[in-house]
Structure formats: C-alpha cells, structure tokens
Amino acid sequence: MTQRQLTCIGCPMGCQLTATIENGVVTAVTGNTCKRGDSYARKECVAPERTVTGTVRCTGGGAPVVSVRTAGEVPKEKVFDVAHALNTALAHLPVAAGDVVIPDVCGTGVNVVATKSAK
C-alpha cells in the first residue's frame, strides 16, 4: 500500500489530497471537499493524462512555425517524448487548422494536429 499527496486542480481551493493506492488501484481519497477531488485523484494516480501543445517548424512558406496540439490527451509519462517529436518534426506549408501534422504520435494513438492555418 502506498500513499500519494497531490493538489486538486478542480477549482481554486486546491485541496491537498491523499490517495491510498493498493496494487495499482486507488482505494481511498482523503482531503477532498467535493466529488471532483475524489475523481481527480483516482485518475491522476493511476493513469494521468495531459494535452500537449507546442509548435512544429515549417518549410516551404513564410511562417517559421505552426502551433499544434495533441488531438486528445496522452499519457503523462509520454509528455517529453511527444515534445521531442514536435521539436524534431517538420511541417510543409501550407497547413490548415485541424490538419494532422504527426499521426499517432509516439505510439499513443493520438494525432498531433495544427491549431492554426499557416502559409
């Protein structure tokens, strides 16, 4: 059994949560003052996920970079891998908002898409 301290991000209260984890499963959450804290801790301790945003360098046009995001959340431990993928990818202009810039980034099954049109 392990215990993990974390700050709830549900609202400005920022409750200090304590999650009890047994065999990879959260068995109890304390310190929360509402339901959001409980569900946040259960997710965050077992399978934390993040949306990654950034830019990708461009060729073949005027814009030096285009802004991108992961179309959905990726596992938190993959954040640096995804960032590295963004930092080494190249987008050929023109790019339209929503275009897939990197498919299935780092084997997450999530695409990286442009958030802005660039030419």
Partner: protein, 480 residues
C-alpha cells in the same frame, strides 16, 4: 595612412570635438569602445543644459558651462535635436539657507549667467504649484534648459560623418605609442596613426591620459541613479527643480524631459568599477525620497524605467575639467562630469580650434553646417504627416505603439551614418521601445526590421552590442 586627428570616445564631448574638427580640411577619425555613439556617460544623465550658476567662478567648469549653454540653442536648430529652455529652480526649505541661495546667485552673476533672481513664497508656488509647501525660496534661472542627450550626441556624430569624419565602433583604444612624431593607437583590431589625439574617453579618460602623459590622473566614477516616469506626469513641473547643492553634486532634481516624461534623480555615490552602471535598491529609494522633498506625492507607480549613469569625477585637489594639450599633440577632455553635457559644444569647439591652430589647418568650403533629424511623425501636423506616409508607406506602419514610431523612422535610424545596429541603437535614435511598455510589444518587430535592413540573422542581434545577444537561437535546437 595618417590621420590629422583621432578622437577617442563617442560621447557628447567626443562627437562635438569631431564635428568642430570637421570644419577644417583635416583627416579625422573617431574611435568608440562601444557599438554605437552615446553609450557611456552621455546616455545616462539629467539631460539638463545648466545655466551656469553652480560652478566656481574662474574654473573651466564655469567657463565652458556658460559658453556651452549659450551655444546650445542655435546648435539645436542647426543640427535639429530636441532642446527646450524651461528654466530651473534651486529650492531651499529654510529661510536660514537664503544666504546660500544668494551665494549661488552671486556666483551665477560672476559667471555671466543672465536673468537670475530669487523667488519666494507665493510667487514660487504660483510658478510651480506642485512644489512642497515646505519650499521657502528658490534661485530662479530662466536660461536653464533641457535637451535630449541622445539626440544631441547623435546629431553631432551624424553631422561629423556628413563632413567626412570616419567612425570606428567596437574600437577600444588599448595602447598609444609615440612614433616618429606621430601617435600610434591600437584600437580594437586596428592600428591607426595620427598627428593629434583628443582624449574624450569619459570615465576611462584617465587611463588614456596616463598612457601618454607624465602626470598621472585618476577618475573615480560617481554613480547617479534615476527613475523615469510616464509621459502623463511630465507636466507635474514646468521647470527643472533642484535642491541646494551639497558636496557630491547638485543634489536630487525633478525635471520634465524634452520628450515629456518626468525624471527624478540622481544619487551620487563613488564606485571603484568604471562599468558599474547597475541601480541599487538603496540608491533608487534615496532618489525617490529626496525628490519627494521637492515635489511631494510623486506618482512613483508610473515609473517606466530606472537607470544609472557614471560621472567621470576627477580625484585630487581640484575636480575642475582638464581641457587642453597635456602632451605634444595630445589633447585632454578629462574629468568631464556635470556640467559636462552643457559644456560639450564649447569644449568641442575649443579643442578643435587648438588642434586647427597646431596643425595650421584651413576651414573647408564644403563644410555642411546643418543636419536634419529623422522626421518625428508624431509631432508633425496632420497634412505633413499624411504627405510623408503617401510618399513612403513605411511611415504609416506603426511599430512602437507607446511612442507611435513608424517602420519608416526605424529604417531611417538604421541607415543613418553612424546608424543603429542594435535594439538600444534604434531606441536612442527614434524612441522605439522608450515608452511605457518598454519595448514589450515592439522589440520582436524592431528585431525583424534590424535583421532585414542589416542583412544579419535575428539570432545575431544584440541589445547594445558586445555579448548582449537577444536570442540564443531558434526553437527546436536548444538544449539547456
């Protein structure tokens, strides 16, 4: 190739000397340690053209101050730089100090300063309603003025360049040798030979002097810290407001600037280090406290920047300017602290005349006495501005929102001679980045223009030359 004169130092005095020398049929160069002119003492001071009541009668400070002050207005018209005769007050807060004011008045009259008088009580507060009620009387000097020190120095430099003076930037003079009746200077990566030298090296003028002369001098840099307030506060006082001077200088002043900001400062603290232009918490607090004695409730939350300048204060028995030929063909302008800016035109003129006489030089018929500044679009009447924009649409594209500076003005600043090569170079010439956001919005755009016009990548651009690079590279290629 042998120069007739090499000026060391591109501050107000050096540029004034170069400009006055360029009247003559001489081969002239100016060596500047920094990447641009006006980057030392000349860029960070009170920007006052002192009337000349403060200096002890008979000193060079008194003589050159009064002469410089008299030259300044016509010079500002000839060379098109901002100057305004706004007058000055020296306050005293206690009737007991009146004799000190009278002493100043007497000194000023001996120095030949016109229009001096003592104002008291109601008249004083009518003239300057924002003054502290504690202000009892003041010496009023109507001939005191304010000037843009960048505008003035750059105007002198540009006019000198127009008249054939060569400018070598990034060229610190590290060695001066006497050889075959000439001076041989190591200046950066160059070796230059010249018949005469003007030493206008500011806080380093002692080092240069000591390379050549038997008698040794020592400059102790004396720091002055300032706060600059937003233009909305520039009307708080009309005149430059001093307090009775003390041992370390003219005390803390409150003054409008020619551009309409409010300036307070300076402190006066000796520093060992000739490049220690850092502000300090104590210094700024002192300046604010002292300024508050003259003008209470200063809106310090409108501060847009603070800065520190170093005065070239001469150590020893006399702290008067040293101006003249200290060794054969080696002309000094050493210890040029306040009133140095005011004196600069007169010092430049004097040194140029000395050198011309020594070299038996003749005046050029081709000398161009006037220089036009880059147009200040913001100050032009609507129709004139409209016409300029029609001719050159770059004048219609605003880059610096706070000061309303157009792309055209910035491009002009880069292509002048000597032109801007850095963010600060642009700022000093056309005030882009000088406003209330301090370059927050316009820096990236000015960098883009500098890169385009100079043909160098943005990653090589600097804030103010040397290693002051603005960027470390492109994204995606950086590892901490």
């Amino acid at each position: 190739m042998i120069y007739d004169a090499i000026v060391i130092g591109g501050g107000a005095v050096g540029c004034a000397a170069a400009r006055e020398l360029s009247r003559y049929d001489l081969r002239i160069a100016l060596c500047e340690k920094g990447e641009d002119v006006c980057v030392g003492t000349s860029k960070a001071n009170s920007a006052i053209v002192h009337a000349g009541f403060d200096a002890v009668p008979g000193t060079k400070k008194a003589r050159f101050n009064v002469a410089g002050s008299r030259m300044m207005e016509s010079l500002s018209r000839e060379l098109d730089f901002p100057y305004r005769r706004n007058g000055a007050m020296v306050l005293c807060f206690d009737e007991k100090d009146l004799p000190h004011l009278e002493e100043l008045l007497d000194r000023g009259q001996q120095n030949g300063v016109e229009g001096l008088r003592i104002v008291r009580g109601e008249e004083l507060h009518q003239l300057e309603p924002a003054l502290s009620p504690a202000a009892a009387a003041a010496l009023y000097a109507p001939t005191s003025a304010i000037v843009c020190p960048f505008g003035m120095t750059i105007a002198l430099a540009e006019n000198a360049a127009q008249n054939g003076v060569e400018f070598f930037m990034d060229s610190p003079v590290s060695e001066i040798r006497r050889r075959d009746g000439l001076y041989e200077l190591t200046a950066g990566d160059k070796v230059l030979q010249t018949r005469t030298v003007v030493n206008a090296a500011g806080v380093y003028s002692d080092v240069l002097h000591n390379m050549v002369c038997e008698s040794k001098l020592s400059i102790m840099p004396r720091s002055g810290e300032y706060c600059l307030l937003d233009k909305k506060d520039g009307h708080l006082v009309e005149r430059t407001v001093f307090q009775l001077p003390g041992k370390f200088g003219k005390g803390v002043l409150v003054t409008p600037t020619v551009h309409g900001n409010l300036l307070i400062g300076p402190t006066a603290v000796d520093r060992e280090d000739k490049d220690a232009t850092n502000t300090t918490a104590d210094g700024l607090a002192y300046a604010i406290r002292m300024a508050g004695l003259s003008v209470p409730n200063l809106p310090m939350r409108d501060t847009i920047t603070s800065f520190c300048g170093l005065r070239a204060h001469l150590e020893g028995e006399s702290d008067d300017f040293i101006i003249g030929e200290s060794a054969d063909g080696f002309f000094d302008a050493v210890g040029i602290e306040s009133p140095g800016l005011s004196s600069a035109p007169a010092i430049g003129l004097h040194l140029a005349q000395c050198i011309a006489q020594k070299l038996d030089a003749t005046e050029k018929l081709t000398f161009i006495a006037t220089r036009r500044d880059i147009p200040h679009l913001r100050e032009l009447p609507f129709e004139d501005r409209q016409a300029l924009v029609r001719d050159n649409p770059a004048y219609g594209s605003i880059i610096c929102r706070c000061e309303q500076i157009s792309e055209g003005e910035i491009v002009d600043a880069i292509h002048r001679l000597p032109g801007a090569r850095s963010l600060d170079g642009v700022k000093r010439r056309v005030r882009a980045g000088m406003g209330r956001c301090q370059g927050g919005f316009c820096s990236p755009k000015v960098m883009e223009i500098l890169s385009r016009e100079l043909g160098i990548p943005q990653t090589e651009l600097t804030k103010s030359g040397g290693s002051s690079k603005l960027l470390v590279g492109y994204t995606k290629e950086v590892q901490a």
